[in-house]
Symmetry: C2
Subunit: 258 residues, 2 copies
């Protein structure tokens, strides 16, 4: 699913550990983000610890660019979003990741480009970093336990951006090798089941038959079986009624259980 819009840049400001740069790159690529910018990484760059931690997201690491200062890293961007909130006395719009995602996509559609800032692992962004940003992205997690590590913060913000452009159908039924049974096949199964049950005297007393029948119809009616599952059910019913399956000849029960 290639994204039509240009994704935002991810800017790690003074990241401390190479391993965290690697896990952040992995989280980025999970969400279709591939432009990583590093501002004054503490351990320098490239960093050997980043590669194994990226679990295969090496393209992101290989393209990563290093800058000495935040203004240099963001010079070509249109709007900046900061992902921590330690600023005191600064006035900023606060967005959820979902709101920021909408904003970033609207900006991109208008020809602009967003950049998302993540601070150092231990301390987060400083007021000096925050003063110039356009908005703060705040993840409204459990207020009693809101702390995320760097890769998790990247993942949640990136996920919101990715999902804002995601068009997964609302509800899908995944099936295997067998096609889903058509409604006629299901209705036929239910009718045969009812016939067997009628023959065994299941519907008793008679005045309750309709209610019992409706329950069975409702139960199997929402089953949405495959053709294979339906054959299995046919076989199961025959086995229940007639006992274990009879060796001579390839009869219908054997076919049903294959």
């Amino acid at each position: 699913m290639p994204q039509a819009v240009i994704p935002p840049a991810v800017i790690l400001v003074r990241p401390q550990l190479g391993v965290n740069i690697g896990t952040a790159a992995r989280a980025m690529l999970n969400c279709g983000l591939d432009e990583l910018r590093l501002v004054a990484p503490r351990e320098g760059w490239p960093n050997a610890h980043a590669w194994p931690a990226a679990s295969g997201a090496v393209a992101v690491l290989e393209k990563a660019r290093v800058f000495a200062t935040l203004p240099e890293a963001t010079a070509d961007l249109t709007r900046l979003y900061a992902t921590t909130w330690r600023g005191r006395g600064l006035v900023k719009w606060i967005l959820t990741p979902e709101q920021a995602a909408q904003d970033i996509r609207a900006l991109a559609a208008a020809g602009g480009r967003g950049g998302i800032l993540f601070g150092p692992e231990r301390t987060g962004l400083e007021n000096e970093d925050l003063a110039g940003v356009d908005a703060v992205v705040s993840v409204p997690l459990n207020p009693a336990f809101p702390s995320l590590n760097l890769a998790q913060a990247v993942l949640l913000v990136g996920y919101a951006w990715w999902m804002a452009g995601n068009e997964t159908p609302a509800l899908r039924l995944e099936h295997g090798l067998s096609p889903l049974a058509g409604r006629a096949a299901l209705d036929n199964f239910i009718a045969r089941l009812v016939q067997h049950l009628d023959e065994t005297g299941f519907f008793h007393p008679p005045e309750k038959r309709l209610h019992m029948l409706r329950n069975l119809e409702a139960c199997f009616g929402r089953l949405q079986p495959t053709e294979q599952e339906l054959r299995t059910l046919f076989g199961a019913i025959k086995a229940l009624r007639y006992g274990p399956y009879r060796p001579p000849g390839k009869d219908e029960a054997e076919e049903a259980e294959r």
Copy 2:
């Protein structure tokens, strides 16, 4: 923000490493999930590696319960969601995390309780685990790079559940010690600015005055400043017009810059 509804249980099926149980517990608590169930953890339980990895989510670990089998772990639950999709030939509803979150909350509102299954780190859930679940939760990430580690999978699914009950206002302006300026104060500022600019002959040629004025109004009109910021701006304008600020007496400019 205490959740009114009972959160789903998180069930780690045959987790391999204690450290991953710890990071999963952290991700759970970030999202207000606190009931952890472990099915046959490979390294046994309790596991000393889990605690440091949980970064403070010790309450989740201390309450965690261990079960020998999946059916024992889920006996009291109403609906089961599996978070990997390696099953071949099984028919299951596939939900995004957001759809699952709605489903879990609707279930809870009706008195039921959901359980979310996560498989072993390396292999994910087996067909044997998947056969009985009600639905599969699939995170529709970058199809070219969809792999998540255990804690990240817990975080994304948990986050969707948490956000489905989250009522963060759509857009908030965070401010510091100073209250936001009223509209009258802002209008007054713009009027004074225009007066200064008129006096300096800024609006030239005269036929462009209105257009220039509208631009200034639009620019400052969306600023939403605090009272303190407005005082700073007043002072800046005076300094620009009259030069550096004059020592004798606490005049208006000094007040403005404080």
